[in-house]
Symmetry: C2
Subunit: 398 residues, 2 copies
């Protein structure tokens, strides 16, 4: 490990300065002696979770390994109780340990810059990694590692400004989550890359295996869709040719508001959402990231024990971004459920009678809305969006 | 997490086929329907651990964070015993857990292709990540995650051949180490990237904090140096201009042998070396990777509790690679201790009276030599190589 940084470490630290202030004020390169044209997002040709190997390709690559081995798989036993190893397609690995009944719950993620503010980019990257733990109902992270690639195209000056800001954002988000960054790896690479590893050691009752949906459950989503559309639209403000495609449906002010709402949303932890999953007896959840709402809903549906299907009726979308997506034709596939999200919300199966209370509670605690977006029906473990879903316009917070 | 692959999982699997056979036979692209000119190492402009952010730059970037926080650092207490958080510059993070006396020992690493055989590249990447655990005396890994970036420049065909081979090599190495790969992340990126995350949950007596060197100890190295020189020289066989610089000191046959020795060495686990650290009361260790022998020796020296210095007298080097390095002038700085290694040996501080027995035992168990390369003197926590170190030529195994 190259910088196992206990310098990044301090369990009892107050969040100070930076955080909220920097959220409100847009990143100004010139305030850091960088050229006014500096844009972090230009240090990669792909953005955010759009960088993933496509879901079908990945299945093919991984399945090439599966055939040899599946026959030999065995469920490990601990204290004579089978603890399932949890894996493919779900948000975390869950590994039974040698130590009485404990499990290691672990996840990793990394991707490319999606916003131009390095501090916010660090926060988003950290929130995005943690989100996989939260999707399993795990609320406490024991350790974070940071994975960082510095772009070969950055000047020394750019690097010296940007990388510490990213690190600080990542670390502040970890502190907000009650955990610490103790190390990581950093390399140079053509594209700037940011990510991490989140690990927790816990009792089996601390996580929720996401396979217990039953007919009659409802589906709740805890953050609006449209982050990818918003960050793209924001970049197009500087690109007249692109801007012309959307300027009839949206103003520059709308786009700036949507961009800030997206940054705010992506940097928000799904931790309260995870904690409330226990209180309201969630039957399972996943977080919405690179494969879009429908991609992740389908994966979750495929893992259910009962013969159920997920039907999605409502799409909460950052205000105006549905119109932008429509104006771009087939590009985002937002309303089809395929637009990639970064650090998206949790999609949670809740007992019907608990869902409204869940949404009310999360709004009370955090000041952010959650939405009932669909229902669980009898079916063959698939997910779909109805023909004409209702789009819920989600305004900027302030 | 994108492919939490329990398909990659199978705790009770025998190593079968592939492994040894593929080690002996060079990778033939045409046997996989790829063009004869296919070279995995061309999918990145930097190789192996040469990709790291320079040590001094990294210190500067990380230290920018340190100043704010160091005052608030506190050592966590568990059962009223302070468990130090271990971090910066060492090989693993060690994190005290909420669960009675247990610690999470964790490390991550990723880098670029260093050899052209995808299966061997996977094995090397896995051995390299695990090596950080072994350097701390941890012999059992509870979980591995795989980090993979598929090059944007690979054709679909190349991708479909190469990625499953890399995955299989990584997985076979994990199995050899008695652990399993349960998930990871894969993205597309200009350069092909391979790495992982290794985690163990253990009692404090299962790891060795590397800070107990005393005057009179000796330094043992468990693998020869020169892996970077060997993989470069091997690529130069196809590049007449480069080859001309070294052909007076080395034959093509010498280089092929050195390359195979290097592959063999890099894919070998430091696990027995770690196990014997306990038996022979090691005072601390590190593994030799991107910062070269001297870089890592200096970091280890800086972390000692006593006022000691490390003095290195002997340099075991893969046969002929010292001559190649000399013929290349200042390029590798091999004899100065700065040549990057990938998945290098452990550098171990052992009590003087135990070192010979340690070396004998490792050779008996594994069939590979280890070398006493230096001594621990009174000093100011630095490390150096003497003026004219003795170069020990380490021949290919077969």
């Amino acid at each position: 490990m190259s910088y196992a940084a206990d310098v990044l470490n301090s369990a009892h630290l107050e969040l100070h300065g930076g955080g909220d202030a920097e959220l409100r004020r847009p990143f100004d390169p010139t305030a850091h002696d960088l050229d006014a044209s500096f844009r972090l997002t230009r240090f990669a040709d792909l953005k955010g979770r759009g960088c993933k190997v496509p879901q079908d390709v990945l299945s093919k690559l991984v399945s090439a390994l599966q055939q040899d081995y599946s026959a030999q798989d065995q469920e490990p036993q601990f204290l004579n109780v089978a603890i399932p190893r949890i894996g493919i397609g779900l948000d975390c690995s869950v590994i039974p340990l040698r130590h009485g009944g404990l499990c290691l719950v672990q996840t990793t993620d990394f991707f490319y810059p999606i916003v131009d503010d390095p501090y916010m980019m660090g926060k988003i990257a950290c929130a995005n990694v943690l989100s996989d733990l939260y999707a399993m109902g795990v609320t406490d992270c024991d350790n974070m590692l940071m994975l960082l690639a510095v772009s070969t195209k950055m000047t020394e000056k750019e690097r010296d400004v940007v990388i510490p800001l990213i690190m600080r954002g990542f670390k502040d988000s970890a502190l907000e989550a009650g955990t610490t960054v103790t190390g990581g790896q950093s390399v140079v690479n053509p594209w700037c890359t940011i990510g991490g590893v989140a690990s927790t050691i816990c009792q089996p009752n601390e996580y929720i295996v996401p396979d217990n949906a039953v007919v009659g459950d409802v589906l709740v989503l805890t953050k609006p869709l449209g982050t990818q559309v918003a960050v793209n639209a924001h970049q197009w403000i500087d690109q007249p040719e692109r801007w012309n495609r959307i300027k009839l449906v949206v103003s520059e002010e709308d786009v700036r508001k949507a961009y800030h709402r997206a940054m705010n949303s992506m940097s928000r932890l799904n931790r309260v959402a995870a904690r409330l999953m226990h209180k309201y007896n969630a039957h399972g959840a996943t977080d919405i990231t690179g494969f879009g709402l429908l991609g992740h809903a389908q994966t979750l549906a495929a893992h259910q024990k009962k013969d159920v299907s997920f039907v999605i009726h409502n799409l909460p979308v950052i205000a105006k971004m549905a119109a932008v997506a429509k104006a771009c034709g087939n590009m985002f596939q937002l309303l089809q459920g395929h637009s990639a999200e970064t650090s998206g919300g949790l999609l949670i199966c809740l007992p019907r009678e608990q869902a409204a209370a869940y949404c009310k509670d999360i709004e009370k605690q955090e000041g952010y809305q959650a939405w009932i977006i669909g229902i669980v029906e009898k079916g063959n473990k698939t997910a779909r969006i109805i023909d004409k879903p209702r789009v819920i316009e989600v305004p900027a917070k302030d």
